[in-house]
């Protein structure tokens, strides 16, 4: 029967190796950059290619114009409005991702925007008559790339790999993930930018051996040392600075112009113009020996000056030197010597600056490689990974082994950091740590998770602060609670605390507090719904249903194991609540399901508490026995 049907198929005639677009999953790699963003996909010949916009351009300026009427413009038209709407045209928003207001104010680059502090301490931008999070604004860029990709691939996008600087911390990664979710993109993976570049060099250029990837973009710097062997891309070490890039070069030139113009408090318009002119001059000086800058003065008239390449290089020399430390550290962490490298690869638009190239050549003792366009190479590499994860697998049997860029630690007595996952540990990774109480009768303990290399907690970035409650009162040092820190393949952290004894397990999932809260994401998603985005509603419904199923299954298992902890009335009550959620989850309203989830959680919390108490008591009993035996 099957055979007959097969023969009747009209495209039997096609050659077996022929690939048709409709057989492939529509997936892309996206480089969400500070200055430019772009998407790429693997074409029918199996080669990666960037996806052009309607005008044939690959690069989309990462610039968003927020109109007071609530609409937005992204890319070139947004950039064109920078001078007429200086406060409503947001550029380089990547620098704000996962950052607090203080981080931005203390940073090197000044902005013409009105910034404020939002939920969870995250910075927000006042523009277009409203308040916007960097995540919202990034999502606008991603939406535009999604539309371009869908037009090019001929249907709805089925998934994307989005790249992030390798040195991005957890909050910055979480923010990027949230932006993908807001843009309605099914995120297959967050991929480190230098690793993506290495993929492109390995697969499209056939490079093998030990390579350093020097990636200096608009706002971030990464250095990664990778070993490339037969389809395996193993990151040996990584380092960088997530607030250093071409924007800083522009700032230095801009400061020079403002100084010479005698302006100390420029208007937002002048700031935008100075920024644009500085960037134009910087780009021109990559080719020319000198270039003429022209800026309209506030009071009328023109400021102009000739900028020589030498003068420009002098002003940015110290910034370029800042990349040296992370490079030396990464080489050392990799366990190799500089001389063992097969090559150094340049990635990112800022490596077009001749002084940067000279610095890299000096530092590594060899001429750097730039066979692939440094602006495109990250997106091209990400396209390979998307093809693999999306299930097309045309890039062969490749394997990516990455590392965590920053050490993960816990606060201990006196504000010191106890390191539990050192930097450059291969991911995914999990480390468990046992905690105990330090006061008699203590029933709760606070745990603070930080990321960074410094020894004091306040010098590192706080990722999560949470409390373990419900510890039965006992003498100091008697309680034992195992906390597991897991970093997944996206570089994202999950913390779970558990009392694991007689097969009973309680998990407390803690998400880092810095990013958007789930409530905030849902609110923004709901706003998007009002604009009639049906697919988002479906997605949320699916997510809520899966969550309901998971909770029901977990509760069922808990009842099976521990129904003895409940009175018959309580048991009936819990079962009823469970049945009610099951009923609701058949419906089409995700909000009702979420309410049902919250309700069930409230109604069964006492049961969870009793189970936790029981397991902790069992553990303690065992512990005391051991001590007796000693």
């Amino acid at each position: 029967m099957d055979v007959l049907l097969d023969i009747a198929e009209p495209d039997q005639s096609r050659k077996p190796h022929e690939i048709r677009a409709e057989d492939l999953r529509r997936v892309v790699g996206i480089d969400l950059g500070t200055t430019y963003s772009l998407a790429a996909a693997i074409d029918l010949e199996g080669k990666p290619a960037c996806i052009p916009d309607a005008a044939g351009r690959f690069m989309l300026p990462s610039v968003v114009y927020l109109d007071p009427d609530g609409s937005t413009l992204v890319g070139w038209p947004a950039r064109d409005r920078a001078l007429t709407h200086p406060r409503d045209v947001i550029a380089s928003v990547k620098r704000f991702m996962g950052r607090g207001l203080a981080d931005i104010i203390e940073g090197r680059v000044k902005t013409p925007y009105e910034l404020e502090s939002g939920e969870g301490g995250m910075v927000r931008v006042r523009a277009g008559g409203g308040s916007h999070s960097p995540v919202d604004i990034s999502a606008e860029i991603l939406k535009t790339l999604r539309q371009q990709s869908e037009a090019a691939l001929g249907g709805p996008l089925q998934g994307a790999v989005i790249t992030v600087p390798a040195y991005f911390d957890d909050a910055q990664r979480q923010a990027t993930k949230d932006a993908a979710r807001l843009a309605g993109i099914d995120l297959l993976r967050l991929l480190n930018e230098p690793t993506a570049a290495a993929l492109a060099y390995g697969l499209d250029q056939g490079k093998e051996g030990l390579y350093a990837i020097y990636d200096l973009g608009g706002g971030t710097f990464d250095i990664s040392i990778l070993k490339l062997t037969q389809g395996v891309f193993q990151v040996m070490a990584t380092g960088g600075d997530s607030a250093l890039g071409g924007d800083d070069f522009d700032q230095r030139l801009g400061d020079l112009f403002l100084e010479e113009m005698g302006v100390s408090a420029p208007s937002p318009r002048l700031m935008q113009e100075v920024k644009q002119e500085a960037r134009r001059i910087k780009e021109a000086l990559s080719q020319a020996e000198s270039a003429r800058a022209e800026i309209r003065r506030e009071e009328g008239g023109l400021y102009h000056r000739e900028v020589s390449r030498e003068a420009f290089e002098e002003r940015i020399a110290d910034l370029i030197r800042l990349t040296g430390g992370p490079c030396r550290r990464a080489i050392k962490d990799s366990g190799f010597e500089r001389g063992e490298l097969q090559g150094v690869v340049l990635v990112g638009g800022s490596t077009r600056v001749p002084a940067v190239r000279r610095f890299v050549a000096d530092l590594f003792g060899r001429e750097p490689l730039c066979d692939l366009d440094p602006d495109q190479v990250v997106a091209l590499g990400a396209a390979h990974q998307a093809d693999l994860l999306g299930g097309n697998r045309r890039s062969g049997d490749l394997l990516l082994l990455d590392v965590t860029p920053l050490s993960l630690g816990l606060e201990t007595m006196g504000g010191m950091v106890e390191r539990i996952v050192p930097r450059n540990t291969p991911t995914p990774t999990a480390r468990a740590q046992e905690f105990t109480t330090f006061k008699d009768g203590q029933t709760a303990m606070a745990i603070q998770v930080v990321q960074g290399e410094r020894e004091m907690v306040d010098q590192c970035r706080s990722l999560a602060r949470f409390e373990l409650r419900g510890i039965p009162p006992m003498v100091a040092g008697a309680a034992r609670i195992r906390v597991t820190f897991q970093i997944d393949a996206d570089g994202l952290l999950t913390v779970s605390a558990r009392e694991l004894t007689t097969g009973v397990e309680q998990r407390v999932e803690v998400k880092p507090s810095y990013g958007l809260s789930d409530g905030e994401i849902e609110r923004i998603l709901r706003d998007a719904l009002d604009h009639g985005e049906e697919d988002l509603r479906q997605r949320m419904l699916a997510e809520s249903r899966v969550e309901a199923e998971r909770v029901i299954a977990a509760l069922g298992a808990a009842l099976k194991a521990d129904s003895a902890l409940l009175s018959p009335e309580e048991l009936t009550q819990v079962k009823l609540a469970m049945a009610k959620l099951w009923e609701i989850s058949r419906g089409e309203d995700h909000e009702k399901i979420n309410n049902g989830l919250r309700e069930l959680d409230q109604q069964t919390r006492f049961f969870a508490q009793r189970r936790m108490d029981q397991t902790i008591q069992t553990a303690m009993a065992g512990h005391r026995l051991e001590e007796f035996e000693k």
């Binding site: 297959l188 993976r189 994860l389 394997l399 291969p426 995914p428 393949a489």
Partner: protein, 214 residues
């Protein structure tokens, strides 16, 4: 005990009996890792100190090829979680076995003679004096002074030579122990591992000093 329980429960998705392997022999689904599994076993290696780095890397990559979350991108949430847990265990095993120090400490733990982490069991006053002097010498170096980089490089080289000597001796002690079962040789390995720990701490301090150079 834990492992047996898991085997009895069978595959989480098709309920088939499991055979201690990470993938179900019947349906191919990833199973949760056994947290008690020893790291040598994860790579199918015997309990020996001598591990060929090339072989270890090959087996490591093979295991990751099989279980890395990239392999399970389109699969159900539960299976993806198990693959993350499996990959994390493989990474932990690799991290432990690839460095001679952590490998030796791990072998001692398996042999029931764990090296105390704080090195407090070293009673040899001459050794402790020597370490103290080395640290004082390191402390006295101003990283911004002329020739500091070169001096630090020489000190690192001297320490690394000393460590590789200690590692060779640890290897010999373990070989004897595994061949003849002489507990004295295990004790010897244990003492040397604790000394190695002091050297490692010294190198960490040297690292911190070098950081100031950059």
């Amino acid at each position: 005990m834990d492992a047996n329980r898991k085997t009895c429960q069978g595959c989480w998705t098709c309920r088939a009996l499991l055979d201690q392997k990470p993938l179900c022999p019947s349906c191919g689904a990833v199973q949760p890792p056994n947290p008690e599994e020893d790291f040598f076993h994860v790579f199918g290696l015997d309990h020996l100190f001598d591990v060929d780095a090339t072989v270890l890397e090959q087996v490591y990559q093979e295991r990751q090829r099989q279980l890395h979350p990239d392999r399970f991108a389109g699969r159900p949430e539960t299976e993806r979680r198990f693959s993350v847990e499996q990959a994390a265990q493989i990474n932990a095993a690799y991290q432990t076995l690839r460095s001679p120090f952590t490998r030796a400490a791990y072998l001692l733990k398996l042999a029931g003679r764990p090296a105390s982490g704080d090195g407090g069991s070293i009673k040899d006053p001459a050794f402790l004096m020597e370490i103290m002097e080395l640290r004082e010498e390191l402390d006295a170096i101003d990283p911004h002074s002329r020739g500091a980089e070169e001096r630090l490089r020489r000190m690192r080289k001297a320490m690394e030579d000393r460590m590789s000597g200690e590692i060779s001796a640890i290897g010999a002690a373990f070989r004897d122990y595994f061949a003849e079962g002489d507990p004295q040789r295990l004790n010897d390995a244990g003492k040397r591992v604790e000394r190695l720990n002091y050297y490692r701490r010294y190198l960490e301090e040297l690292d911190r000093k070098e950081e100031e150079l950059y």
